[in-house]
């Protein structure tokens, strides 16, 4: 069993020319955790990964593995396994030679190399392919070998750089499960870079959402989805509706605020843990699946957060239906996950509603 290693980044900065690719980020990856770096392209997530791997040196800040300073340790001395986006399998070596290369470098004796190669090939379910060359493997198989090559050296930390981006949709789903299984089985501290939020939400123990070289939020998938820290996170993860307004009233005993929108509606929102002052300009974020569409207002015994709308577009997906509603002089997206009961059609005058608990309020800076 691998020794569990904790990875810590403190105020790490790396620039290319005048551009700060990574701008003073700090994060803490616990032992055995599957940690995701998630963000749009160019947000600095791959740079962060390469800093941890040692391919770049930080200009500022510290990188620590189990409290040991790694800043000046070259990549080949870090005992880090890395899976590259393009797999980087050496085309002039067989699968077996690819996998045992790292062992040879470490001076592992031949008989032990054979044993370890067999073990790791079994873990990735590729026992039969040891004598093949990389160009004789499919994309998914190459991906497994790249993973095996990184695992066989029993790394302290496993780094995955968009490992699934070159696979087709179906294989991607299967491989997701596979990587998660292997990671849990071996309990290696793993840092996984992706721009695919579904990958991150479905696999991660913890996610760091990055944007423009900074970390916007770190948390569990549920945290990040349900309590996004700011507008960027709310907009980047999942779909949402943003509604602008001003704080009109604060009901402290219920930790509720009333927000008056630009078009005059009042939105009630629960704000646990945040404080606002009257008159402050804010942005409300409401997920489409939290919005219910009602045919008529009297059937619902509710007086707050109920607004009239007109169905502009309705798209049926089988497992759900998506509405585009015309309300508050804008388009409001809504999703209904049990479309069987729905009798709505485009052009209908309807109402929509949502729970104050489902509104996230952000200060507009």
């Amino acid at each position: 069993m691998a020794i569990l290693v904790e990875v810590v980044l403190e105020e790490v900065t790396k620039s290319f020319g005048d551009v700060k690719a990574v701008d003073g980020i700090s994060l803490n990856v616990n032992e055995g955790e599957l940690f995701f770096l998630l963000g749009p392209s160019g947000c600095g997530k791959t740079t962060t990964l390469r800093l941890i791997a040692g391919f770049y040196k930080p200009e500022k800040g510290r990188i620590l593995f189990d409290e040991k300073l790694m800043n000046n340790v070259p990549p080949n001395k870090r005992n880090v396994g890395m899976v590259f986006q393009n797999y980087a399998l050496w085309p002039h070596m067989t699968v077996y030679d690819n996998i045992t290369y790292g062992l040879k470098v470490r001076g592992v004796p031949a008989n032990l190399r054979v044993k370890k190669a067999k073990e790791v090939l079994k873990i990735v379910k590729m026992e039969k392919y040891a004598t093949r060359y990389p160009n004789q493997l499919s994309g998914g198989q190459q991906q497994r070998i790249a993973l095996a090559r990184a695992l066989v050296i029993e790394p302290d930390v496993l780094l995955l750089d968009e490992p699934l981006s070159n696979l087709d949709a179906k294989l991607r789903l299967e491989t997701r499960e596979e990587i998660k299984r292997i990671q849990k089985e071996l309990k290696i501290t793993t840092i996984y870079v992706t721009h695919d939020q579904n990958e991150a939400l479905s696999m991660a123990d913890k996610i760091a959402v990055m944007n423009e070289g900074r970390i916007e939020q770190i948390g569990t998938p549920r945290d990040i989805y349900n309590n996004p820290a700011n507008e960027f996170v709310a907009g980047f993860i999942g779909e949402t509706n943003f509604i602008e307004g001003k704080i009109e009233e604060i009901i402290e005993e219920k930790s509720l605020v009333v927000i008056k929108t630009r078009t005059g509606e009042r939105i009630y929102a629960r704000i646990t843990g945040k404080t606002f002052s009257r008159g402050e300009r804010v942005l409300c974020s409401v997920r489409p699946e939290r919005i219910r569409v009602l045919t008529d207002k009297r059937r619902e015994d509710q007086i707050i957060n109920l607004f009239p709308a007109r169905i502009q577009r309705l798209t049926y997906y089988g497992f759900a239906e998506h509405y585009i509603l015309e309300a508050m002089e804008k388009e409001i997206k809504a999703t209904n996950f049990s479309p069987r009961a729905s009798k709505h059609k485009e052009g209908d005058e309807v109402y929509f509603t949502f729970n104050p608990n489902d509104v996230n309020v952000f200060r507009i800076s």
Partner: protein
């Protein structure tokens, strides 16, 4: 803003920078300094700045005519070369037919023999009392012998074209093979076909490749020294410059003519680059390209075969004539030799001057290739894998030798190094080796650079990440992956060094140091068996080079054409 081009002081990698500076020192001593001396020799006489010799050059009718002749030779040879290679490349790339591979191979045969060796054989066939005239007179088709060579002028153009068209053919083929077929299919889909399709889509797309090859052809024909010497054609720049090497300390005219040759060559390259540079297109590839190859059918078949076979025959005439000459025991005033023997090969392989010249050439070329491979891998590595201030300069400098004629370099070497411990009149070994390597360095740089480009950096990073050191990564990952390219580039520069004419002619001045090319030239002047022995020696050299090129072709495949570009 381009991120990679801006450097803060703290980011400079001093190891890389010092390598860069070392390489630049090499170029400074063996490329820039000689050129500087040539300029100095032409512009400063007795310490005084003067343009007198340039004025003289244009006032004197002989010089004026010679300059004009050389430019004409360059241009006409390029036109003739284009007329041969464009249709040939189009046919070869676009059509499939039985025997194509053999014909393709035969089309490359002229690469293996410098044009001046071909000229020795061609004189047997086409001279005033050569085989062709004799045959025609025998058949009573003509009564007076025809001057096929046009006093040497036409002979030079034809020989240059027949030797140089493979370079252009390879460039055009590579460019054509690179055109995404969907671009043409789209044009056809919109209603274009035939010549219109060629003119509006195919031609513009292959043009940058064509220009890159054509400029090499021009410079080569414009500055080739060997062929005019064999034809005893004195009214051209290279032979005049050659004759002035001995007066280098007394007559600045040689410098002025050399400067002029350099200026014309470089301006043609610059103009061509300007023109083609803005028109080079990245192919928006979808992975790999399936070329549009059709089988020929119907009435086109005999026409295409006739054309290609005619081309192959024309291209091989110099080679065949040299082989015939080398095997002829007696060939004087008859259509074909009257008796055959191998005795001139025996002479070529045993005669003092010729035998040692083979060894000399092998020695010079092997050493110059070793330098080229080392420098080529190093420069290719720096260009492909490192960022440092001055990268653009290194790239430009490494490719510069393609634009600089050999006679200019050689003339500069004589001027810089006479009287030093490596005086070319005393022992030219070192200067020959270095001049060969400087001239052919672009081949190995390009080959190595392409190797690094095709090899993803992450392959090296993967090796580091599993614990291998930089050195181990270099030897077990990087070098094995770029090996084929490096070997191929090395073979190209070796072959070229074996056949190097202009610098060999000028720098090797004592028989003991003659390389093959100079020995061929000097033996040819010998009365009696001169041309026969020279031809035999030429064939020996050709055999060596052919085997090298076959090896390179096997390693490089299609991409061979891309090595010969300006």
């Amino acid at each position: 803003m381009n991120i990679t081009r801006r450097f803060a002081l703290r980011e400079i990698d001093w190891k890389t920078l010092s390598l860069f500076l070392l390489i630049m020192m090499f170029f400074s001593v063996f490329l820039f300094l000689p050129i500087l001396y040539v300029f100095k020799g032409a512009l400063f006489v007795n310490g005084q700045f003067t343009l007198l010799y340039f004025a003289l050059m244009f006032q004197d009718a002989f010089y004026r005519e010679s300059i004009l002749n050389s430019v004409k030779i360059g241009i006409f040879a390029t036109i003739l070369t284009s007329l041969i290679s464009i249709p040939t490349a189009l046919l070869m790339v676009r059509y499939d037919f039985p025997g194509k591979r053999i014909l393709q191979g035969l089309l490359l045969v002229p690469l293996v023999m410098p044009p001046f060796v071909g000229a020795i054989g061609m004189k047997q066939l086409f001279a005033r009392y050569g085989s062709v005239n004799l045959l025609l007179m025998k058949l009573n088709l003509i009564s007076e012998p025809i001057d096929w060579f046009g006093g040497g002028f036409i002979g030079i153009i034809i020989l240059e074209a027949l030797h140089l068209y493979p370079y252009l053919y390879l460039n055009i083929s590579a460019a054509l093979a690179n055109i995404d077929p969907t671009l043409e299919e789209q044009a056809e889909n919109l209603g274009a076909s035939g010549f219109r399709l060629f003119r509006t889509v195919t031609l513009p797309l292959m043009f940058p490749g064509y220009i890159a090859g054509a400029i090499i052809v021009f410079i080569w024909a414009f500055t080739d020294l060997g062929t005019p010497l064999i034809f005893e054609y004195r009214k051209a720049l290279p032979p005049i410059i050659f004759s002035m090497v001995k007066d280098i300390w007394t007559n600045p005219m040689g410098y002025a003519l050399t400067v002029f040759t350099l200026i014309i060559s470089v301006s043609f390259v610059v103009a061509a680059r300007r023109y083609a540079g803005g028109r080079s297109y990245e192919m928006l590839g979808r992975g790999h390209i399936t070329p549009r190859v059709r089988r020929i059918t119907g009435w086109k078949t005999p026409i295409i075969y006739a054309f290609i076979i005619l081309m192959v025959l024309a291209a091989m005439t110099p080679q065949i004539s040299v082989i015939l000459t080398s095997l002829a025991e007696q060939w004087f005033l008859t259509v074909l030799p009257t008796a055959y023997s191998l005795r001139y090969y025996e002479v070529a392989l045993t005669h003092e001057v010729t035998a040692i010249s083979i060894l000399n050439s092998l020695k010079y070329s092997l050493l110059s290739t070793a330098i080229d491979v080392m420098l080529g891998v190093l420069i290719g590595y720096l260009l492909a894998r490192r960022s440092f201030p001055g990268k653009d300069i290194l790239d430009a400098v490494a490719m510069l030798p393609l634009a600089i004629p050999g006679i200019v370099i050689a003339f500069g070497y004589v001027s810089v190094f006479t009287g030093t411990p490596i005086d070319p009149f005393y022992d030219p070994t070192l200067l020959l080796i270095i001049s060969y390597s400087v001239r052919r360095l672009p081949y190995t740089v390009r080959a190595a650079y392409a190797g690094f480009q095709q090899t993803s950096v992450s392959l090296e990073e993967a090796s580091l990440s599993v614990g291998a050191s930089q050195a181990r990564t270099l030897f077990s990952i990087t070098i094995p992956l770029i090996m084929a390219n490096v070997i191929a580039g090395g073979i190209m520069s070796f072959s070229a060094a074996m056949m190097e004419v202009s610098t060999s002619m000028i720098l090797a001045n004592r028989e003991a140091f003659y390389p093959i090319t100079k020995a061929i030239y000097s033996v040819n002047l010998r009365l009696g068996d001169g041309p026969y022995v020279a031809s035999a020696l030429g064939i020996v050299g050709t055999i060596i080079v052919t085997s090298c090129l076959l090896a390179a072709n096997k390693l490089l495949g299609k991409s061979m054409g891309e090595l010969f570009r300006a």
